[in-house]
Amino acid sequence: MNLLERTTGTLVSPEEPTLFDKSKAGRIGYSLPAPEVPEVVAEQVIPKALVRDEVLGFPEISENEVVRHFVRLSQKNYSIDTGFYPLGSCTMKYNPKINEEIARLPVLAQSHPFWDERFLQPALEVQFQLQNLLSAVTGLESFTLQPSAGAHGEYVGIKIMRAYHESRGNKKTKVIVPDSAHGTNPATCTMIGYDIVPVPTGPRGIVEIEDVKKILDSEVAGIMMTNPSTLGLFEENISQIAELIHSVDGLVYMDGANFNAIVGIVKPADLGVDIMHINVHKTFSTPHGGGGPGAGPVGVRSHLKKFLPTPTIERSGERFFYDYNLPDSIGKVSGYHGTFAIHVRALTYMLSIGTTADGKDTYLRRIATGAVLNANYIRHRLRGHYNIPYDHPCGHEVVINDDFQQKFGVKTIHIAKRLMDYGYHPMTVYFPLVVPGAMMIEPTESESKETLDQFCDVMIAIANEAKENPEILLNAPTRVNREKVDELRAQKQPRLSWKPA
């Protein structure tokens, strides 16, 4: 069997019409018990002008047909459980199933934030324990679990930065953001009213001290650094940069998107970090769910605790409680207490990866080690076949690009799409922006050497195809559910909801 046949994915599934195409008047998918109290008609109690008789267009489908519909849809998705998902910066590691089982425990799932706190002790304890473990791995004393996602965590973190400066009467107008940063970093600063001062990536692929010095002045509120950076490289100067930032009373924000590379190896607080968010859906294995929900807890040093969103979770003796008495808080940032269903999963995972039975090591460290070793292995295997702009020992991900393939008319996008024909989800492409044609590959610790070898064999086969038969790549993918979806047409003729034909 050739490599293509051996690796082709399984995403060829039957065509599935929409719920609305399948709908037929009078079919039902749900039933209620017979009424025990008199049935009220809306017109009796609600002004006529407001009442509606039915929701026009709502589907009418039987329960079993709904099941088949969504099972068929599911088969059109690639997922971690079906194959290797080397998306850089996304940390597509295994999502343990015990996390899901625990998250469905009724006591936790039914918890209502407005119940008397005596009924919420289990939920509060979960959140309290999670905060403590996050403090243990980051060295940051206090955490809030309220942010619903990484970007939401950034929002909270920079709000705290601003509140800190306002409380000290500092005149601050801008935040330093490396040019390799995720788009959420500058977008967050804008939302909070800070200007962005970009700092370039130096020749070694990291931020250099001299470049920070050049742009540092008293109006700098702080710096937002992703560490390791989106190039997969550890920011070796971070401690010295932190000192510089602190010298103008600025704060160091660490974007924890890439924490998986250093978890258990170094505590961000020891690097001079003041504020940090953690993407628990990356480092701590909660499912990505096709695009959320995530959770973006934010940790701070003790002097910033008073700015955390209300309420915080505290303990007094055996009792856990919410503390709403926070006069300096930045306020509430989500309706309730953050994505609790995700917190439960994250705690389950964190309890699974503690110290080893002999007490001499932690599984945390083995996670980072595994992830970094795997990424470096890929870097070695792809060398010579693909250009590696910063070919230094990397963290948990490696960035390559299409420089060697361009002379054959093949670009990053073609390589990515061709990977699908071989049964892989593509890597992250065209990011970070500082590398033209970037392909960012993050294997995580979850993958075996065999998986990495097969993936690298495929990448090398694609590099050869680019040389010998570039046409194949230009037309890819041809062996999956859809071929070249026309994204331009979607924008030129917007159809964002179903309309009857």
């Binding site: 407001l50 099972v71 997922s79 289990p122 791995v137 609790f340 990866i353 994204e487």
Partner: protein, 446 residues
């Protein structure tokens, strides 16, 4: 480690291949003095057997209430068993954001169907793929209205009937605009139309309303819509209980510019407020200002109907500091539960559940009105309503908690002047016996 397929031999081979002697060398770029030397004061790793015991112990630390009438933004509903069944399928749960449409059609089509059902419910032209939750959706809606109204600097009118948590989140997000916020007064438990009319016509930019409001009262969107049409005001609405749209018209029908809401009722238990998604709908003409993800229908190169993320040029990963929001999620798995729940209910089921909720609330109201010390206003409500007590609601809530159940939410937790107001939410899960228990409890209390 059972989650890491790197055995000792694998590790040796990998290290040899990359030219290193030990795993320590992998981290040579971190200065030695900064590395963790001890085991970070971290607990022992637990096996699955131990994990289950740990959580059983945590869950047993306090009793769960035997019955609950708490709502106030998060509602208890019957979740059809197919919802968690499908939601936990690996292909949905362990996939990433569908940036590669060729191998993500399942998620994309589900989002497209969700967007469609939201437009139907809200009677709007356009829906996004969802935001974090109801409160942040409202805040994003106001921020979007501010972008569309950037040439003026008029007032932002917030209904006095807004859920206090929503108001707090809005104030956090609108920190730079706080001096423009005014609160529209209520007349009793509903917006004062006369006062509102004056506010709307006096250099206002944005009007924010919520229906049902914090007291459970359905606002007169028809009158508000008529008022908005006589002005240049941008109308942003919020709803915490989308089941209301099974019996009440969507705000889009009355001309709301932006309709936001909390999605939890469709698809998820309360989860401490942590399994939410935000509903966000608007008019087609504002498409380019919408925050969050959008899915559109298109064709693939073989002419087959396909779906893709679209209008990404609004988003942070393209536009960076000029994006419409920093948001980078659509709470997809929660939204998926919502779309499955809605599809299962269908037209008939939605109507049936909404009517049942209404009937349960009306049953309670009619019986509680017979108790002379209790006051219940005549304003229209849906599944939730407020009882004015002659004494503090906190005492009542505590006395029910002592007996192991939850009789409602003491609105005094938000504002001292509301301390005699008990907010009661009904559910299709409540039996007549349970409804009667609440009536008896209130009749004989304190």
């Amino acid at each position: 480690m059972k989650y890491i397929p790197q055995g000792p031999d694998d590790q040796k081979e990998l290290l040899k291949a990359v030219g290193l002697k030990s795993t320590d060398e992998l981290f040579q770029f971190i200065p030695a003095h900064l590395k963790i030397k001890n085991n970070l004061y971290y607990p022992k790793a637990q096996s699955e057997i131990e994990i289950r015991k740990t959580f059983q112990k945590i869950c047993a630390s306090s009793p769960a209430p035997s019955l609950s009438f708490a709502g106030c933004g998060l509602y208890q509903h019957d979740i059809p068993s197919i919802v968690p069944f499908i939601q936990s399928r690996s292909e949905f749960a362990t996939s990433y954001t569908p940036y590669q449409p060729e191998i993500s059609q399942g998620n994309l089509q589900a989002i497209f169907e969700f967007q469609t059902m939201i437009t139907q419910l809200t009677e709007c032209e356009l829906s996004n793929a969802s935001l974090y939750d109801g409160a942040t959706s409202l805040a994003e809606g106001i921020l979007m209205a501010l972008r569309l109204k950037k040439k003026t600097a008029g007032k932002i009118i917030l209904s006095g009937g807004l859920h206090p948590h929503y108001e707090q989140v809005v104030r956090t997000y609108l920190q730079s605009f706080l001096d423009r916020i005014v609160v529209a007064p209520l007349k009793g438990d509903r917006l004062d139309q006369e006062a509102l009319s004056k506010l709307v016509t006096s250099e206002a930019d944005i009007l924010v309303t919520q229906s049902p409001n914090i007291f459970g009262v359905i606002e007169d969107d028809s009158a508000i819509g008529a008022l908005v049409k006589t002005s240049d005001v941008f109308w942003v609405t919020s709803t915490t209980e989308p089941f209301v749209w099974g019996v009440v018209r969507g705000p889009g029908a009355f001309g709301a510019h932006i309709v936001t809401g909390e999605g939890q009722s469709f698809g998820a238990p309360a989860y401490l407020g942590g399994a939410s998604y935000g509903i966000f709908a608007t008019k087609n003409e504002y498409l380019r200002q919408v925050p969050g993800r959008l899915v559109g229908e298109t064709l693939d190169q073989k002419g087959r109907r396909s779906y893709t993320l679209t209008f990404a040029t609004r988003e942070q990963f393209i536009r960076r500091e000029k994006a419409t929001s920093n948001i980078c999620t659509n709470q997809n798995l929660n939204m998926l539960a919502g779309v499955i729940h809605m599809a299962t209910l269908g037209k008939a089921g939605l109507k049936a559940v909404s009517r049942r909720l209404l009937s349960h609330a009306e049953y309670l109201k009619s019986h509680l009105r017979e108790v002379s010390e209790l006051k219940i206003s005549s304003s229209p409500t849906f599944s939730e309503f407020t009882v004015d007590l002659p004494y503090g609601a906190a005492t009542l809530v505590k006395s029910a908690a002592d007996a192991g159940w939850v009789c409602g939410v003491d609105l005094g937790r938000f504002k001292p002047e509301w301390n005699k107001k008990l907010l009661i939410a009904t559910s299709e899960l409540h039996t007549k016996a349970e409804l009667d228990r609440l009536v008896d409890f209130l009749r004989t209390a304190p």
